[in-house]
Symmetry: C2
Subunit: 207 residues, 2 copies
Amino acid sequence: MSLMTEPVSFDSRQRLIRAAAEAFMEEGYRASIDRIAVRAGVARQTVYNHFPSKDDLFSEVARVAAGAILVSLDGDGIDLRARLLRFGAVLRQRLIGDEGLAMFRILSAEVPRFPALGVAYFDKGPGQVVRWLADFLGRAMNDGLLRRDDPQFVAELLLSMLECFDRTRRLFGAPLPAASGEAERVARIIDCFLRAYAPEHDPRNLS
Amino acid sequence: MSLMTEPVSFDSRQRLIRAAAEAFMEEGYRASIDRIAVRAGVARQTVYNHFPSKDDLFSEVARVAAGAILVSLDGDGIDLRARLLRFGAVLRQRLIGDEGLAMFRILSAEVPRFPALGVAYFDKGPGQVVRWLADFLGRAMNDGLLRRDDPQFVAELLLSMLECFDRTRRLFGAPLPAASGEAERVARIIDCFLRAYAPEHDPRNLS
DNA sequence: CTTGGATTAGACTGTACAGTCTAATCAGCC
DNA sequence: GGCTGATTAGACTGTACAGTCTAATCCAAG
Protein backbone atom coordinates (compact mmCIF):
# COMPACT_ATOMS: atom_id res chain seq x y z
CA MET A 1 0.00 0.00 0.00
CA SER A 2 2.61 2.58 0.94
CA LEU A 3 5.22 3.45 -1.59
CA MET A 4 8.82 3.08 -0.57
CA THR A 5 10.32 6.29 0.72
CA GLU A 6 11.03 8.53 -2.18
CA PRO A 7 13.46 11.46 -1.91
CA VAL A 8 11.70 13.67 0.59
CA SER A 9 9.75 16.49 -0.94
CA PHE A 10 10.06 15.18 -4.46
CA ASP A 11 6.43 15.78 -4.76
CA SER A 12 4.91 16.26 -1.39
CA ARG A 13 1.55 16.81 -2.95
CA GLN A 14 1.26 13.23 -4.19
CA ARG A 15 2.49 11.81 -0.93
CA LEU A 16 0.01 13.94 0.91
CA ILE A 17 -2.90 12.74 -1.15
CA ARG A 18 -1.87 9.16 -0.70
CA ALA A 19 -1.35 9.57 3.03
CA ALA A 20 -4.65 11.38 3.37
CA ALA A 21 -6.43 8.61 1.51
CA GLU A 22 -5.01 6.02 3.86
CA ALA A 23 -5.82 8.07 6.93
CA PHE A 24 -9.37 8.77 5.80
CA MET A 25 -9.88 5.11 5.01
CA GLU A 26 -8.76 4.12 8.48
CA GLU A 27 -10.36 6.84 10.53
CA GLY A 28 -12.99 8.41 8.37
CA TYR A 29 -13.24 12.14 8.27
CA ARG A 30 -12.01 12.13 11.85
CA ALA A 31 -8.48 11.73 10.54
CA SER A 32 -6.84 14.94 11.69
CA ILE A 33 -4.63 17.13 9.60
CA ASP A 34 -1.85 16.49 12.08
CA ARG A 35 -2.05 12.73 11.72
CA ILE A 36 -2.26 13.02 7.95
CA ALA A 37 0.80 15.24 7.93
CA VAL A 38 2.76 12.85 10.13
CA ARG A 39 1.74 9.99 7.91
CA ALA A 40 2.96 11.84 4.86
CA GLY A 41 6.18 12.70 6.67
CA VAL A 42 5.46 16.37 6.26
CA ALA A 43 4.80 19.40 8.44
CA ARG A 44 1.26 20.54 9.06
CA GLN A 45 1.97 23.83 7.41
CA THR A 46 2.98 22.03 4.24
CA VAL A 47 -0.48 20.55 4.05
CA TYR A 48 -1.89 24.04 4.04
CA ASN A 49 0.63 25.08 1.43
CA HIS A 50 -0.97 22.61 -0.93
CA PHE A 51 -4.60 22.60 0.11
CA PRO A 52 -6.49 25.55 1.50
CA SER A 53 -8.51 23.41 3.87
CA LYS A 54 -9.17 19.90 5.03
CA ASP A 55 -12.29 19.80 2.88
CA ASP A 56 -10.24 20.54 -0.20
CA LEU A 57 -7.79 17.79 0.60
CA PHE A 58 -10.66 15.43 1.12
CA SER A 59 -12.19 16.38 -2.19
CA GLU A 60 -8.93 15.74 -3.93
CA VAL A 61 -8.73 12.30 -2.36
CA ALA A 62 -12.23 11.54 -3.57
CA ARG A 63 -11.36 12.67 -7.05
CA VAL A 64 -8.42 10.31 -7.21
CA ALA A 65 -10.45 7.49 -5.72
CA ALA A 66 -13.09 7.78 -8.43
CA GLY A 67 -10.53 6.80 -11.02
CA ALA A 68 -9.33 3.87 -8.98
CA ILE A 69 -12.52 1.87 -9.26
CA LEU A 70 -12.74 1.84 -13.02
CA VAL A 71 -12.79 -1.57 -14.65
CA SER A 72 -12.32 -1.95 -18.33
CA LEU A 73 -13.95 -4.53 -20.52
CA ASP A 74 -10.92 -5.23 -22.64
CA GLY A 75 -10.46 -8.67 -24.04
CA ASP A 76 -11.06 -9.03 -27.74
CA GLY A 77 -10.86 -12.52 -29.00
CA ILE A 78 -12.46 -14.29 -26.09
CA ASP A 79 -16.10 -15.07 -25.91
CA LEU A 80 -18.79 -13.17 -24.07
CA ARG A 81 -18.88 -15.37 -21.02
CA ALA A 82 -15.13 -15.28 -20.55
CA ARG A 83 -15.10 -11.54 -20.86
CA LEU A 84 -17.84 -11.13 -18.33
CA LEU A 85 -16.07 -13.49 -15.98
CA ARG A 86 -12.95 -11.43 -16.18
CA PHE A 87 -14.84 -8.21 -15.74
CA GLY A 88 -16.79 -9.60 -12.83
CA ALA A 89 -13.74 -10.79 -10.99
CA VAL A 90 -12.03 -7.43 -11.20
CA LEU A 91 -15.18 -5.53 -10.41
CA ARG A 92 -15.67 -7.52 -7.27
CA GLN A 93 -12.17 -6.72 -6.13
CA ARG A 94 -13.08 -3.07 -6.50
CA LEU A 95 -16.44 -3.40 -4.81
CA ILE A 96 -15.66 -5.59 -1.88
CA GLY A 97 -11.92 -5.26 -1.53
CA ASP A 98 -10.65 -3.51 1.58
CA GLU A 99 -9.72 -0.33 -0.18
CA GLY A 100 -12.89 0.07 -2.17
CA LEU A 101 -14.94 -0.74 0.87
CA ALA A 102 -13.21 1.84 3.04
CA MET A 103 -13.60 4.50 0.40
CA PHE A 104 -17.22 3.64 -0.05
CA ARG A 105 -17.79 3.94 3.67
CA ILE A 106 -16.35 7.37 4.09
CA LEU A 107 -17.62 8.81 0.85
CA SER A 108 -21.19 7.71 1.31
CA ALA A 109 -21.09 9.03 4.85
CA GLU A 110 -19.74 12.43 3.90
CA VAL A 111 -21.64 13.02 0.70
CA PRO A 112 -24.48 14.85 2.46
CA ARG A 113 -21.96 17.52 3.40
CA PHE A 114 -20.39 17.56 -0.08
CA PRO A 115 -23.25 17.10 -2.51
CA ALA A 116 -21.36 18.20 -5.59
CA LEU A 117 -18.49 15.93 -4.71
CA GLY A 118 -20.83 12.97 -4.46
CA VAL A 119 -22.24 13.51 -7.90
CA ALA A 120 -18.80 14.06 -9.37
CA TYR A 121 -17.46 10.89 -7.79
CA PHE A 122 -20.37 8.86 -9.01
CA ASP A 123 -20.05 10.22 -12.48
CA LYS A 124 -16.34 9.54 -12.86
CA GLY A 125 -16.40 6.24 -10.99
CA PRO A 126 -19.42 3.96 -10.72
CA GLY A 127 -21.42 5.87 -13.32
CA GLN A 128 -18.61 5.49 -15.81
CA VAL A 129 -18.48 1.75 -15.25
CA VAL A 130 -22.20 1.55 -15.88
CA ARG A 131 -21.84 3.46 -19.13
CA TRP A 132 -19.03 1.23 -20.36
CA LEU A 133 -20.87 -1.90 -19.41
CA ALA A 134 -24.11 -0.70 -20.97
CA ASP A 135 -22.25 0.06 -24.15
CA PHE A 136 -20.63 -3.34 -24.14
CA LEU A 137 -23.88 -5.16 -23.47
CA GLY A 138 -25.68 -3.11 -26.09
CA ARG A 139 -23.18 -4.28 -28.67
CA ALA A 140 -23.57 -7.86 -27.54
CA MET A 141 -27.31 -7.50 -28.01
CA ASN A 142 -26.81 -6.18 -31.50
CA ASP A 143 -24.61 -9.16 -32.24
CA GLY A 144 -27.41 -11.44 -31.15
CA LEU A 145 -25.45 -12.72 -28.17
CA LEU A 146 -27.88 -11.37 -25.62
CA ARG A 147 -31.59 -10.89 -25.37
CA ARG A 148 -32.60 -7.37 -26.33
CA ASP A 149 -33.42 -4.97 -23.52
CA ASP A 150 -32.51 -1.52 -22.29
CA PRO A 151 -28.71 -1.76 -21.99
CA GLN A 152 -28.49 0.72 -19.17
CA PHE A 153 -30.96 -1.20 -17.08
CA VAL A 154 -29.27 -4.49 -17.82
CA ALA A 155 -25.87 -3.06 -16.98
CA GLU A 156 -27.10 -1.84 -13.62
CA LEU A 157 -28.72 -5.15 -12.94
CA LEU A 158 -25.58 -7.07 -13.75
CA LEU A 159 -23.50 -4.81 -11.55
CA SER A 160 -25.77 -5.36 -8.61
CA MET A 161 -25.79 -9.09 -9.22
CA LEU A 162 -22.03 -9.09 -9.11
CA GLU A 163 -22.07 -7.19 -5.86
CA CYS A 164 -24.44 -9.85 -4.62
CA PHE A 165 -25.02 -8.65 -1.08
CA ASP A 166 -21.37 -9.22 -0.28
CA ARG A 167 -20.61 -5.56 0.01
CA THR A 168 -23.40 -5.08 2.50
CA ARG A 169 -22.17 -8.09 4.37
CA ARG A 170 -18.63 -6.87 4.50
CA LEU A 171 -19.64 -3.34 5.34
CA PHE A 172 -21.17 -4.59 8.53
CA GLY A 173 -18.38 -6.97 9.25
CA ALA A 174 -20.44 -10.11 8.87
CA PRO A 175 -18.53 -13.12 7.60
CA LEU A 176 -18.82 -13.92 3.91
CA PRO A 177 -20.82 -17.06 3.13
CA ALA A 178 -18.46 -19.89 3.82
CA ALA A 179 -18.75 -21.54 0.47
CA SER A 180 -16.50 -21.84 -2.49
CA GLY A 181 -13.95 -19.41 -3.81
CA GLU A 182 -14.41 -16.09 -5.45
CA ALA A 183 -14.02 -17.45 -8.95
CA GLU A 184 -16.83 -19.89 -8.49
CA ARG A 185 -19.08 -17.23 -7.06
CA VAL A 186 -18.45 -14.97 -10.03
CA ALA A 187 -19.15 -17.84 -12.38
CA ARG A 188 -22.44 -18.64 -10.72
CA ILE A 189 -23.53 -15.05 -10.99
CA ILE A 190 -22.50 -14.66 -14.60
CA ASP A 191 -24.16 -17.91 -15.57
CA CYS A 192 -27.33 -16.82 -13.88
CA PHE A 193 -27.18 -13.55 -15.76
CA LEU A 194 -26.56 -15.29 -19.07
CA ARG A 195 -29.52 -17.56 -18.42
CA ALA A 196 -31.78 -14.57 -17.87
CA TYR A 197 -30.42 -12.79 -20.92
CA ALA A 198 -29.97 -15.64 -23.34
CA PRO A 199 -31.09 -14.64 -26.82
CA GLU A 200 -34.76 -15.32 -27.34
CA HIS A 201 -34.38 -17.88 -30.13
CA ASP A 202 -35.92 -20.68 -28.18
CA PRO A 203 -39.64 -21.32 -28.34
CA ARG A 204 -40.95 -19.99 -25.08
CA ASN A 205 -40.40 -16.38 -24.42
CA LEU A 206 -41.77 -13.92 -22.06
CA SER A 207 -41.30 -10.34 -22.25
CA MET B 1 -39.52 16.20 12.88
CA SER B 2 -40.98 16.58 16.30
CA LEU B 3 -43.97 14.60 17.38
CA MET B 4 -46.79 16.61 18.82
CA THR B 5 -45.95 17.45 22.36
CA GLU B 6 -46.78 14.52 24.50
CA PRO B 7 -47.07 14.92 28.22
CA VAL B 8 -43.52 15.82 28.97
CA SER B 9 -41.48 13.04 30.44
CA PHE B 10 -44.02 10.37 29.70
CA ASP B 11 -41.24 8.26 28.46
CA SER B 12 -38.26 10.37 27.76
CA ARG B 13 -36.26 7.32 26.82
CA GLN B 14 -38.32 6.60 23.73
CA ARG B 15 -38.35 10.23 22.68
CA LEU B 16 -34.61 10.34 23.15
CA ILE B 17 -34.01 7.35 20.96
CA ARG B 18 -36.23 8.74 18.27
CA ALA B 19 -34.64 12.17 18.45
CA ALA B 20 -31.18 10.66 18.41
CA ALA B 21 -32.05 8.58 15.37
CA GLU B 22 -33.20 11.68 13.51
CA ALA B 23 -30.18 13.66 14.55
CA PHE B 24 -27.75 10.91 13.60
CA MET B 25 -29.46 10.49 10.26
CA GLU B 26 -29.11 14.18 9.52
CA GLU B 27 -25.67 14.84 10.88
CA GLY B 28 -23.99 11.49 11.25
CA TYR B 29 -22.09 10.78 14.41
CA ARG B 30 -21.32 14.48 14.55
CA ALA B 31 -24.75 15.06 16.04
CA SER B 32 -23.90 16.40 19.46
CA ILE B 33 -25.52 15.30 22.68
CA ASP B 34 -26.71 18.85 23.15
CA ARG B 35 -28.50 18.96 19.84
CA ILE B 36 -30.00 15.55 20.43
CA ALA B 37 -31.25 16.66 23.83
CA VAL B 38 -32.78 19.83 22.43
CA ARG B 39 -34.43 17.83 19.70
CA ALA B 40 -35.92 15.47 22.25
CA GLY B 41 -37.02 18.43 24.34
CA VAL B 42 -34.95 17.23 27.23
CA ALA B 43 -32.00 18.40 29.29
CA ARG B 44 -28.55 17.12 28.52
CA GLN B 45 -28.30 15.55 31.93
CA THR B 46 -31.41 13.52 31.21
CA VAL B 47 -29.64 11.93 28.29
CA TYR B 48 -26.93 10.78 30.66
CA ASN B 49 -29.56 9.55 33.10
CA HIS B 50 -30.67 7.08 30.45
CA PHE B 51 -27.48 6.27 28.58
CA PRO B 52 -24.03 6.20 30.10
CA SER B 53 -22.41 7.59 26.98
CA LYS B 54 -23.02 8.78 23.48
CA ASP B 55 -21.77 5.47 22.16
CA ASP B 56 -24.41 3.64 24.15
CA LEU B 57 -27.14 5.87 22.83
CA PHE B 58 -25.88 5.30 19.33
CA SER B 59 -25.86 1.56 19.82
CA GLU B 60 -29.43 1.66 21.01
CA VAL B 61 -30.44 3.61 17.94
CA ALA B 62 -28.77 1.02 15.75
CA ARG B 63 -30.54 -1.78 17.55
CA VAL B 64 -33.92 -0.20 16.92
CA ALA B 65 -33.01 0.53 13.30
CA ALA B 66 -32.22 -3.10 12.62
CA GLY B 67 -35.81 -4.04 13.29
CA ALA B 68 -37.11 -1.28 11.06
CA ILE B 69 -35.82 -2.74 7.83
CA LEU B 70 -37.45 -6.12 8.13
CA VAL B 71 -39.76 -7.08 5.31
CA SER B 72 -42.06 -10.03 5.60
CA LEU B 73 -43.09 -12.33 2.81
CA ASP B 74 -46.69 -12.64 3.87
CA GLY B 75 -49.30 -13.18 1.26
CA ASP B 76 -50.76 -16.63 1.09
CA GLY B 77 -53.17 -17.17 -1.71
CA ILE B 78 -51.42 -15.11 -4.33
CA ASP B 79 -48.96 -16.56 -6.77
CA LEU B 80 -45.21 -16.46 -6.61
CA ARG B 81 -44.74 -13.54 -8.92
CA ALA B 82 -47.27 -11.38 -7.11
CA ARG B 83 -45.69 -12.16 -3.79
CA LEU B 84 -42.25 -11.31 -5.03
CA LEU B 85 -43.55 -8.08 -6.50
CA ARG B 86 -45.01 -7.09 -3.20
CA PHE B 87 -41.87 -8.06 -1.36
CA GLY B 88 -39.70 -6.23 -3.83
CA ALA B 89 -41.65 -3.02 -3.61
CA VAL B 90 -41.45 -2.89 0.17
CA LEU B 91 -37.85 -3.95 0.23
CA ARG B 92 -36.91 -1.15 -2.10
CA GLN B 93 -38.60 1.36 0.14
CA ARG B 94 -36.40 0.11 2.93
CA LEU B 95 -33.24 0.04 0.86
CA ILE B 96 -33.44 3.27 -1.03
CA GLY B 97 -35.91 5.29 1.00
CA ASP B 98 -34.56 8.35 2.78
CA GLU B 99 -34.60 6.80 6.19
CA GLY B 100 -33.00 3.51 5.28
CA LEU B 101 -30.42 5.33 3.24
CA ALA B 102 -29.45 7.66 6.06
CA MET B 103 -29.17 4.79 8.50
CA PHE B 104 -27.09 2.82 6.07
CA ARG B 105 -24.76 5.77 5.64
CA ILE B 106 -24.03 6.32 9.26
CA LEU B 107 -23.95 2.69 10.28
CA SER B 108 -21.60 1.58 7.57
CA ALA B 109 -19.37 4.53 8.35
CA GLU B 110 -19.21 3.86 12.08
CA VAL B 111 -19.05 0.08 12.05
CA PRO B 112 -15.25 0.03 12.08
CA ARG B 113 -15.42 1.66 15.49
CA PHE B 114 -18.22 -0.64 16.69
CA PRO B 115 -17.47 -4.03 15.21
CA ALA B 116 -19.83 -5.99 17.44
CA LEU B 117 -22.61 -3.55 16.72
CA GLY B 118 -22.14 -4.02 13.00
CA VAL B 119 -22.48 -7.75 13.20
CA ALA B 120 -25.50 -7.51 15.49
CA TYR B 121 -27.20 -5.05 13.18
CA PHE B 122 -26.58 -7.21 10.16
CA ASP B 123 -27.85 -10.26 11.90
CA LYS B 124 -31.10 -8.75 13.10
CA GLY B 125 -31.70 -6.69 9.99
CA PRO B 126 -30.40 -7.55 6.53
CA GLY B 127 -29.27 -11.03 7.54
CA GLN B 128 -32.72 -11.84 8.83
CA VAL B 129 -34.29 -10.75 5.56
CA VAL B 130 -31.92 -13.00 3.68
CA ARG B 131 -32.84 -15.94 5.89
CA TRP B 132 -36.55 -15.40 5.41
CA LEU B 133 -36.19 -14.98 1.70
CA ALA B 134 -33.95 -18.02 1.38
CA ASP B 135 -36.50 -20.04 3.28
CA PHE B 136 -39.29 -18.80 1.09
CA LEU B 137 -37.40 -19.46 -2.12
CA GLY B 138 -36.35 -22.88 -0.89
CA ARG B 139 -39.97 -23.81 -0.45
CA ALA B 140 -40.83 -22.49 -3.88
CA MET B 141 -38.08 -24.69 -5.29
CA ASN B 142 -39.50 -27.70 -3.51
CA ASP B 143 -42.88 -26.89 -4.99
CA GLY B 144 -41.35 -26.93 -8.43
CA LEU B 145 -41.98 -23.24 -8.94
CA LEU B 146 -38.33 -22.33 -9.21
CA ARG B 147 -35.21 -23.91 -10.57
CA ARG B 148 -33.29 -25.71 -7.89
CA ASP B 149 -30.23 -24.00 -6.49
CA ASP B 150 -28.71 -22.98 -3.18
CA PRO B 151 -31.51 -20.93 -1.61
CA GLN B 152 -29.18 -18.70 0.33
CA PHE B 153 -27.24 -17.76 -2.75
CA VAL B 154 -30.40 -17.15 -4.72
CA ALA B 155 -31.85 -15.03 -1.96
CA GLU B 156 -28.78 -12.84 -1.86
CA LEU B 157 -28.79 -12.55 -5.61
CA LEU B 158 -32.42 -11.52 -5.68
CA LEU B 159 -31.86 -8.94 -2.98
CA SER B 160 -29.03 -7.35 -4.86
CA MET B 161 -31.03 -7.37 -8.07
CA LEU B 162 -33.80 -5.51 -6.29
CA GLU B 163 -31.34 -2.98 -5.02
CA CYS B 164 -30.21 -2.63 -8.60
CA PHE B 165 -27.56 0.02 -8.25
CA ASP B 166 -30.16 2.50 -7.11
CA ARG B 167 -28.86 2.59 -3.58
CA THR B 168 -25.38 3.40 -4.79
CA ARG B 169 -26.82 6.01 -7.03
CA ARG B 170 -28.83 7.62 -4.29
CA LEU B 171 -26.01 7.38 -1.78
CA PHE B 172 -23.94 9.62 -3.97
CA GLY B 173 -26.80 11.91 -4.80
CA ALA B 174 -26.91 11.04 -8.47
CA PRO B 175 -30.36 11.24 -10.04
CA LEU B 176 -32.26 8.00 -10.47
CA PRO B 177 -32.62 6.84 -14.06
CA ALA B 178 -35.37 8.96 -15.46
CA ALA B 179 -37.49 6.11 -16.68
CA SER B 180 -40.70 4.64 -15.55
CA GLY B 181 -42.11 4.34 -12.07
CA GLU B 182 -41.00 2.23 -9.20
CA ALA B 183 -43.60 -0.44 -9.79
CA GLU B 184 -42.43 -1.02 -13.32
CA ARG B 185 -38.82 -1.21 -12.22
CA VAL B 186 -39.65 -3.81 -9.61
CA ALA B 187 -41.60 -5.79 -12.18
CA ARG B 188 -38.73 -5.77 -14.64
CA ILE B 189 -36.37 -7.01 -12.00
CA ILE B 190 -38.67 -9.74 -10.74
CA ASP B 191 -39.40 -10.92 -14.27
CA CYS B 192 -35.73 -11.08 -15.01
CA PHE B 193 -35.21 -13.10 -11.87
CA LEU B 194 -38.04 -15.46 -12.73
CA ARG B 195 -36.59 -15.94 -16.18
CA ALA B 196 -33.25 -16.93 -14.72
CA TYR B 197 -34.86 -19.20 -12.18
CA ALA B 198 -37.70 -20.71 -14.17
CA PRO B 199 -37.97 -24.43 -13.43
CA GLU B 200 -35.60 -26.24 -15.70
CA HIS B 201 -37.91 -28.06 -18.03
CA ASP B 202 -41.40 -26.79 -17.60
CA PRO B 203 -41.60 -23.02 -17.35
CA ARG B 204 -45.11 -22.60 -16.15
CA ASN B 205 -45.30 -20.03 -13.43
CA LEU B 206 -45.86 -16.62 -14.83
CA SER B 207 -49.13 -14.84 -14.70
C1' DC C 1 -48.11 18.06 53.17
C1' DT C 2 -43.98 15.39 52.68
C1' DT C 3 -40.74 12.63 50.59
C1' DG C 4 -37.91 10.65 46.83
C1' DG C 5 -36.81 9.96 42.20
C1' DA C 6 -36.61 12.08 37.94
C1' DT C 7 -35.64 16.31 35.62
C1' DT C 8 -33.83 20.81 34.82
C1' DA C 9 -30.45 24.87 33.62
C1' DG C 10 -26.22 26.08 33.72
C1' DA C 11 -21.53 26.30 35.11
C1' DC C 12 -17.30 23.77 34.64
C1' DT C 13 -13.25 20.60 32.99
C1' DG C 14 -10.43 18.62 29.76
C1' DT C 15 -9.53 17.41 25.19
C1' DA C 16 -9.26 17.51 20.27
C1' DC C 17 -9.05 19.90 16.49
C1' DA C 18 -8.81 23.45 12.20
C1' DG C 19 -6.49 26.98 10.92
C1' DT C 20 -2.91 30.99 11.53
C1' DC C 21 1.46 32.97 12.40
C1' DT C 22 6.45 33.29 12.89
C1' DA C 23 11.05 32.60 12.60
C1' DA C 24 14.33 29.38 11.33
C1' DT C 25 16.09 26.08 7.87
C1' DC C 26 16.75 23.76 3.62
C1' DA C 27 17.13 23.17 -1.45
C1' DG C 28 18.35 24.27 -5.91
C1' DC C 29 20.19 27.83 -8.87
C1' DC C 30 22.53 32.31 -10.53
C1' DG D 1 28.74 32.78 -1.98
C1' DG D 2 23.94 34.59 -1.99
C1' DC D 3 19.06 34.58 -3.54
C1' DT D 4 14.37 32.46 -3.71
C1' DG D 5 10.77 29.59 -2.69
C1' DA D 6 9.42 25.62 -0.31
C1' DT D 7 9.54 23.47 4.12
C1' DT D 8 9.91 23.04 9.01
C1' DA D 9 8.71 23.08 14.28
C1' DG D 10 6.19 24.98 17.35
C1' DA D 11 3.47 28.40 19.59
C1' DC D 12 -1.08 30.32 19.46
C1' DT D 13 -6.35 31.18 18.81
C1' DG D 14 -10.90 29.93 18.81
C1' DT D 15 -14.33 26.54 18.71
C1' DA D 16 -16.82 22.36 19.54
C1' DC D 17 -17.67 18.86 22.18
C1' DA D 18 -18.21 14.74 25.87
C1' DG D 19 -18.89 14.24 30.20
C1' DT D 20 -19.35 15.91 35.32
C1' DC D 21 -21.26 18.44 39.01
C1' DT D 22 -24.60 21.19 41.57
C1' DA D 23 -28.48 23.16 43.24
C1' DA D 24 -33.05 24.05 42.20
C1' DT D 25 -37.55 22.22 40.63
C1' DC D 26 -41.17 19.18 39.36
C1' DC D 27 -44.27 15.40 40.18
C1' DA D 28 -46.42 11.44 41.94
C1' DA D 29 -47.44 8.47 45.64
C1' DG D 30 -47.92 7.81 50.58
